[in-house]
């Protein structure tokens, strides 16, 4: 059976890590899910998430970071990073002191780009 894929390599959406059109984080918060818009920095292959100081403690929580852009079908691109968050030892360079900075330790990364939708190789 033919399959269509929109999956791409991280390198293909790496610009999103620099430009960060939209960044949001979801995490398991006790018995429910929570999610907020966040500030994001990527430097030295590290993922930093900036949250408001009054955000519930996230240390050790499993989280998913979503960075995406585009409104129209063939413009939609993005990546999701699943991992655990921990307080950052140092904030990222040039970051706002008004935010609490967390480090995301990635476990799984998925990138997609609807503009490259194609038949899957080998099918």
């Amino acid at each position: 059976m033919k399959q269509i894929t929109r999956a791409v390599a991280l390198e293909d959406v790496r610009d999103l890590l620099e430009r960060v059109p939209h960044a949001h984080v979801a995490w398991h918060d006790g018995d429910r899910v929570s999610a907020i818009a966040v500030s994001f920095r990527f430097a030295d292959e590290k993922y930093w998430i900036g949250v408001p100081p009054d955000t519930a403690p996230l240390g050790g929580a499993q989280a998913m970071l979503l960075i995406d852009e585009g409104w129209y079908y063939f413009d939609l691109r993005g990546l999701r990073v699943r991992g655990r968050v921990a307080p950052a030892d140092v904030p990222p360079p040039g970051s706002s002191a008004a935010l609490r900075w967390l480090a995301l330790l990635p476990e799984k990364l998925i990138a997609w780009d609807y503009g490259t939708m194609r038949q899957k190789d080998g099918t």
Binding site: I4, V20, H22, A23, H24, V25, A26, W27, H28, R32, V33, S34, A35, I36, A37, V38, S39, F40, G50, V51, P52, Q62, A63, M64, L65, L66, D68, W71, Y72, Y73, F74, D75, L76, G78, R80, R82, L99, G115, T116, M117, R118, Q119
Partner: protein, 164 residues
């Protein structure tokens, strides 16, 4: 902030993408960007019946929706909605929601195309007939696989400054 608040309605009208946050049976968070349509106090999104998001809401229906003000002023604002989601299927509902989403994303008020897709690189090299067949097949497959989420019990909204 109440869902019926004009500010909330205005915000939803200016937002183009909803991010829906769910958790799996194992407690793993999931965050997915989807098109949406708002109608009669409910927010509708479409996703494949087999997607992780749909599987998650069958187990944990409490979800969080995040909306950015994509158009107009105040683009640095974000709206967060908590509610309960359920997966529903139905050709008539699906058709209505698709029309709403298409009107929002693709049509101007007088029915003209708002914007042509800018990036069709992957399909550009395919023979024309095959490309049309493929699109038609994918549409049929998508229509079969998709239902609509709705959040009948929207329990709270809050708006805040984006942190970027």
């Amino acid at each position: 902030m109440n869902y019926a608040d004009p500010q909330v309605q205005s915000f939803l009208a200016r937002s183009m993408i909803a991010r829906i946050a769910t958790i799996s049976a194992k407690g793993t968070p999931q965050l997915m960007p989807l098109w949406f349509a708002a109608r009669d106090g409910r927010i509708y999104m479409n996703n494949a019946a087999t997607s992780p998001t749909v599987r998650n809401i069958a187990i944990h229906p409490d979800v969080v929706l995040l909306f950015d003000a994509d158009r107009g002023s105040r683009r640095n604002m974000c709206l967060r909605v908590r509610g309960r989601a359920q997966f529903v299927e139905g050709d008539e509902l699906l058709r209505k929601m698709w029309l709403r989403m298409a009107a929002k994303h693709d049509l101007s008020p007088n029915g003209h195309c708002r914007r042509r897709p800018a990036r069709l690189s992957a399909l550009r090299d395919a023979p024309l007939l095959r490309r049309e067949e493929e699109l038609e097949r994918r549409d049929r497959s998508h229509a079969r696989a998709c239902g609509v989420h709705r959040a009948p019990g929207l329990r709270g909204c809050d708006a805040g400054q984006r942190r970027s």
